[in-house]
Symmetry: C2
Subunit: 254 residues, 2 copies
């Protein structure tokens, strides 16, 4: 049965087991056992295709992607998409991609290291910010949220295709690197007045607790973003906002 272009005539090619597999990919353990992840919406899917992420299958409720054989694309109903989707309000297409082999990181240039960043929206936004500032490598502690979490994929808006994320224990890397290691602390040096290099590792900490004590010992240069509001009361900055402000200071002198 070929692919039909009018929803009324869909002979759905999607089985209950496929829907079950795809919705299981919302969870890390099933992404890891299947080595698959999902992305939703034309824009994100197209970015991943352009970046040569290996496509497993596209499911769409209206025909949007062309040039794929029937074993790579299926027209499905809104109800079927809703069962697969990780979004509260599903889009009109969902792509299943293979998780690419983990890359190693190269000890050069400006690198961001995340010490237990837990919120998927924050990780997605940090990837987008790194992409903007031309940072191509992020090292994530093993307890940082999974980059293939559907909420991270949606928040990156395709930046995942250009920023390499490596999961690894941070401490051995920070202890043996020859690059300068920076971390943000309340009592750090004012970044606006520092002469920042173009190479180094910038460590950003957990949303609630900041940089962990073990990692703090490996930070060679403590930095701070000056605060101009009421020092007693002003809220701390969100970790993604802080990352943007710090990277801007590193880059602005180029």
């Amino acid at each position: 049965m070929g692919r039909k272009f009018n929803q009324k005539y869909i002979i759905s090619m999607v089985t209950k087991n496929q829907i079950k597999l795809i919705s299981s990919l919302h969870q890390k353990k099933f992404r890891q056992s299947n080595q698959l992840f999902i992305a939703e919406g034309v824009k994100v899917i197209q970015e991943l295709l352009d970046a040569r992420f290996e496509l497993e299958h596209i499911y769409e409720t209206t025909p949007m992607f062309s040039g794929y054989s029937d074993d790579k694309i299926s027209l499905i109903s809104d109800d079927e998409l809703k069962k697969m989707s990780a979004l509260t309000v599903p889009n009109n297409c969902l792509g299943v991609f293979k998780i690419p082999p983990a890359k190693t990181f190269e000890e050069r240039g400006l690198i961001v290291a995340l010490d237990s960043v837990r919120d998927p929206g924050n990780l997605g936004t940090i990837l987008r910010i790194c992409d903007w500032f031309g940072i191509s490598q992020i090292i994530c502690s093993p307890d940082t949220v999974d980059i293939y979490n559907p909420k991270v994929i949606q928040a990156t808006m395709g930046s995942i295709a250009r920023v390499n994320c490596v999961y690894s224990d941070l401490l051995p890397i920070l202890q043996k690197t020859n690059l300068p290691v920076f971390g943000t602390f309340m009592d750090g040096e004012n970044i606006y007045k520092m002469d920042l290099p173009q190479e180094g590792i910038v460590v950003m900490g957990n949303e609630a607790n900041g940089i962990s004590v073990a990692i703090e010992n490996a930070i060679k240069s403590k930095i701070a973003i000056p605060r101009f509001g009421d020092l007693q009361k002003t809220e701390s900055l969100n970790v993604a906002t802080a990352t943007a402000l710090i990277l801007s200071e590193f880059r602005r002198k180029i």
Copy 2:
């Protein structure tokens, strides 16, 4: 009936009509007709109390706030809180506050103007960023999301107590002000190389469309945040991130 400190003995003082009123405050029209808004969680409620927002009532599932008479505080069940709450996972307390009278804005210092910012999370984050950078005034176009939207209140983390938000048509203000007016555009001047003043109005645009054409005509100084990633592909920055980067450039020279 007094207030009991063990949930087993709660004689609930909350009626169905109260729950209905409170959950109606999730919507702007009912916030406006009742001149009330809600805030959830000890931290946000305490910040609003400290800032002398006028309390209507606190509902809590365990005793946390003390020193209020019974007509100002009620111990309620988790189920009752769930019916009032705007959160997916309700906290353990909800405060109802009176919307304070609208303040006027003063034409001095650094001011942020928002041209149709629609996402509550973005507005909340922008308030927090303004608070950090000591910006005490925001002018919002009438179609900007309502500052008393529960999602904005949760995202501000109390900054609403320190940053004055005025809703007003932007065009007449921008046309007659003597302050310099800045706006972010792709072809604007590199902010890293500008000599920025300590007074002015910084206009930030809508998430999808940027600054509207009508407002663009009132912008005296077009500015841009330089991008270091792949110029063809990199995603644009989120409006809250862009606001942070721009305010940092204004403030860093102090």
